[in-house]
Symmetry: none
Subunit: 244 residues, 4 copies
DNA sequence: GATGAATGAGCGTTCATTCAT
DNA sequence: TATGAATGAACGCTCATTCAT
């Protein structure tokens, strides 16, 4: 990324160099993880890939979990940066824009979803509470800002609904990936009779789900808004969506 | 489950007793996993918890992964049994029924979601291919049958859509759980300013998401069906759900 | 071997049936060992191969080691029976006869040498002392009788020399096999420059060695006898075999 | 060996210290193996004996088999060094010299033969092919060089015969040791009637055997050379060594 | 700051043997 | 006699982490 490439054995003195080295470690970890998404790389492998000694990695991250959390955080940041850029557009966004954003920055970032899957269950146990809190505060902040942007583009959304919708979308993205991740169902079994549902592509399936989620969510908010406007017939919780 | 409770050291002679012991081992593993959802219990711990010798566990499961896969399978089976029972009802089901079912059998089964999360990424790598295939075939079968049931209760769903919708719901269930799992955000941080979105309960948040997903999905299918009926104006991909 | 084939679950009541079953177990072990000469079969495998339960094997052999000792004993017995038959011949035996006997009954019995190799180092530790003594007494007896036979066929051999020569021959057979056993040097390496000596066949190499051993031994005995006859020039220990 | 004795916990920084530690581990393994020649020491025992942690041993040897192979290699090397020194002598060597060499460096190295016995059958299976090949190439090289030296000292030996004779000698050494190894026949049984042949000492018995093997081998080569010289009467394969 | 040798708790798995049935 | 479920000590190996250099 930077032009300053610190070689092995070279010391990172100032803050910039340190940041660079920190990022180099994360990139090494990501590279390894993309190669073998089914398992977390060992610290020795990460150090090797970063052309550093094992101990050096511990100068930048106080534990393996913290390093992985940082890597995940970098993914999330990158994604939100792209989203903020998109939200700055003047013409109104559509569901398709959100789907395209997801396709490009989440599905397209090979390590994003496998890491997210392993992260949540495994990682957070031993991470220092303060680090973890900072991580979540940051996410919450990003989510809140992005949510506000969404609310601008999709009217009828009350305050907070944008973030909620994004959260649910993210859940869909993660969850569906885990059900359909490559390697989960072996290729030769994928086309056996009865296994049709495992033969779909993740991207397509996700698109259908996100489209359903967003349109359903927006309609519900719209209806809720309508109920607010003329409280004469306060349509109760819709029991069955088949209308008429 | 059975009245025959095999005590420690008692031999499981016939098939029934063996099934019982197998289940006892799974229950022991589940108990441990509920206590520490962040990590998989070791085989030694499982054996201890089942009051058996380590070697005995290996008489029933040929590896740790296979045991965990069996436990996950038990969860899934139990859930689908409840779903089949519900689908047999004569009056049409509503989204609320599906939400309630989820609440009771997935959210209520403490080990279900943590295990599902760890399963997909960690477990299936080293499981014998035949075992894994059988597992997926079984899931596919359950899903297909349940999907067909859903299609009966929610008209306008073409063949296969029921299973797809269930799959996407399951993805939402899993994904959202991972984002909001207890312990992920420490309680004292949950109510800091900016963290509002983490203060919601998983069950409530899930309910909103599922409701949106189902209603959005059903509407889209309905519109698709409408387009089929009068193909004169083939409303293209709806670009933005805000209608009018 | 016998026509009486005891099936699984059938009981061996009289001594004959017991002997038959004992032999069936040994044969099963031998079969397995031939299939995988690099490792001793487990008791479970032996029991399976003999179509018996694990516990049953322990009715016939009080430990794994004892079973293997018995199998080795069976090999040795079979070999000596053939040797006794050969020694009964009236015309004098030659070194070639001994070589042929070895080729047929030791090299040709696939499990003989691998088992002998593993036996000596591993087996004898935990075998009951009385069993072990009986085994060695039996061997000693066979060896003494065969040695006496050899002395009849090869004059000039003093009492005891026949057994000694057989013992040394056996040592040569075992030792050479261990140096040259198949699989020891991988085939692709066998013909690299510098590895010529590993490319020979065991049978041929052994024949050369045995011929040298026997002729050298017989000559030395002859010379010793000559010295006895005319003690005038008591040729001392021959220092270098290059005569003149 | 070196004067630098690394204490427990001290770090082996440079190549020399590492070599020293590697040797210390091998020596620890050897010590244990001499104490219990009937079984291979466990890695935990070796580490303890070397006053190191288990993991440290794996820094120097990538598996148990590789470690044992290295120990055996050390034995072999030491032996060949002694042999090379002996072969440099100007006055011609005798069979006695070879016997004495064997006595001192093979019989006298308590772990040599038990390890050689276990090595061949057990160890080499799982060793990385490249490591194994290198091992055998080294042995082949040593053997070829030593064989050439033997040919210089014992004329009439054609090229390659020296290595062959050494190989056969080594086989006798190993094989006889396995038949007579201490502990094999319990002392109280050794002098029972009929067990005379087990009462001899290994060293003495080996001396007789080697003397026979070498003299027989040398005579055969001499005769072969003679046949080459005057091919008129091509004395066929000597059928029975009793001449006249 | 950087290194990498050393650590050691921990893990999954095997298998000879026992003994209730 | 025969069975095979149960046992549990033993084993080889991994890897996150520490700390002397």
């Amino acid at each position: 990324m930077t032009a300053l490439l610190l070689g092995k054995g070279q010391r990172a003195i100032d803050a910039l160099e340190k940041e660079e080295r920190r990022n180099a470690i994360l990139s090494a970890a990501e590279r390894l993880f993309v190669q073998h998404p089914e398992r977390l790389p060992s610290m020795a492998e990460v150090a090797d890939a970063a052309r550093l000694a094992k101990g050096t990695v511990y100068l930048y991250f106080s534990s393996k979990e913290e390093m992985l959390l940082a890597l995940h955080g970098r993914h999330v940041h990158t994604f939100f940066q792209a989203m903020f850029k998109l939200l700055q557009r003047t013409q109104p966004l559509t569901i398709d824009d959100m789907v395209a954003l997801t396709r490009e920055h989440i599905v397209g970032t090979a390590a994003f979803l496998p890491l997210a899957a392993l992260c949540m269950g495994v990682m957070e146990k031993a991470v220092d509470a303060e680090i973890r809190n900072r991580f979540f505060l940051e996410i919450a902040d990003l989510l809140a800002r992005a949510g506000a942007g969404v609310e601008r583009h999709f009217p009828n959304l009350p305050r907070g609904a944008g973030a909620q919708l994004l959260n649910q979308s993210y859940a869909q993205i993660i969850g569906l990936w885990q059900l359909m991740q490559p390697g989960c169902v072996p290729p030769e079994a994928r086309f056996r009779p009865g296994m049709e549902m495992f033969a779909h592509s993740y991207g397509d399936e996700l698109e259908i789900a996100l489209r359903a989620l967003w349109s359903g969510y927006l309609i519900q908010q719209q209806e809720a808004a309508a109920r607010m406007a003329k409280p004469v017939a306060p349509a109760p919780k819709p029991r069955n969506t088949r209308r008429k």
